[in-house]
Symmetry: C2
Subunit: 144 residues, 2 copies
DNA sequence: ATAATTGCAAATGCTTTGCTTGTGA
DNA sequence: TCACAAGCAAAGCATTTGCAATTAT
């Protein structure tokens, strides 16, 4: 119910609790992902994570980043987004679902939560005889 | 205001009006796209279009399908969708925007229009100081 | 006539994978 | 110890592109 404070998140701990083996590479990637939270909602792609990682561990390979990111996603620890035109981007999972507003000029991503929309989503699914499992809403906008 | 009746659409005519050169290949692709409308809301991917096309024109190449589909999209004649996990899918543009409900088991796609959601989208964009240019809402569901 | 379009195959960009070596628990 | 993870390079997949030959207007 309550939002998770960014700084209270401890991805390494979460990984451990899930029984994921903590290699140096995973620790590093997880740390970088965590840093991007405070980094004002930056949604890094694999290459961005890799670039940051290689500065610290000059031996790490992209394959490892891909594998780790996939693993974390499968465990619900991070979320993958495929916005229009581009590579997959990631963000640390939060308790409540939020949607994204993308500035088509700057690429900036704004997260928002709208309860009315969430309710409508469920209502529409039900109306068609379906149960809502997953959803995505993206608003591509231009500054006024 | 009024919906375009599927059978009233004449993509070939529309292409001509826009000044697009009508090659045999384009005529064929456009015809196939049009057929998929009556084909109960089928959203074909490039490969599907290609497979159907090569049965009729055994010389046509995938590159042509890719180029044509891109051209049509740039002219707003068809719309591209990139649903989760998969290749781009296309559908003939309609006057009013609609969203998609995807059956995660069967892959079936149901189109829906919800005015409340459309209004909320605009409202949210405005609230953040943005003008809504484009948007996508996808509901991934399971039959109840 | 001639600028645009095609087919082909090679190239691209992101992502995955096979295999050998390395390592966390 | 030993099952799992990493590094590397090769493979995969959807999509794009360069170029010579073809075609619509």
């Amino acid at each position: 119910m309550s939002k998770i404070s960014p700084f209270a998140i401890h991805l390494e701990k979460i990984c451990q609790d899930r029984g994921l083996r903590l290699t140096d590479q995973r620790k590093l990637i997880v740390r970088l992902l965590e840093e991007t939270i405070s980094d004002t909602k930056f949604h890094p792609d694999v290459d961005e994570i890799f670039k940051r990682a290689i500065k610290i561990d000059k031996k790490i390979s992209v394959a490892t980043v891909y594998r780790t990111v996939k693993l974390l996603e499968e465990h619900g620890i991070i979320e993958k987004h495929e916005f229009k035109a581009g590579k997959a981007r990631y963000e640390v999972s939060t308790e409540n679902h939020h949607d994204h507003l993308i500035d088509i000029n700057s690429g900036e991503i704004i997260e928002f939560i709208d309860d009315d929309i969430e309710k409508l989503k469920k209502k529409i699914a039900n109306k068609h005889g379906y149960e809502l499992i997953d959803h995505r809403l993206e608003l591509y906008c231009k500054k006024k």
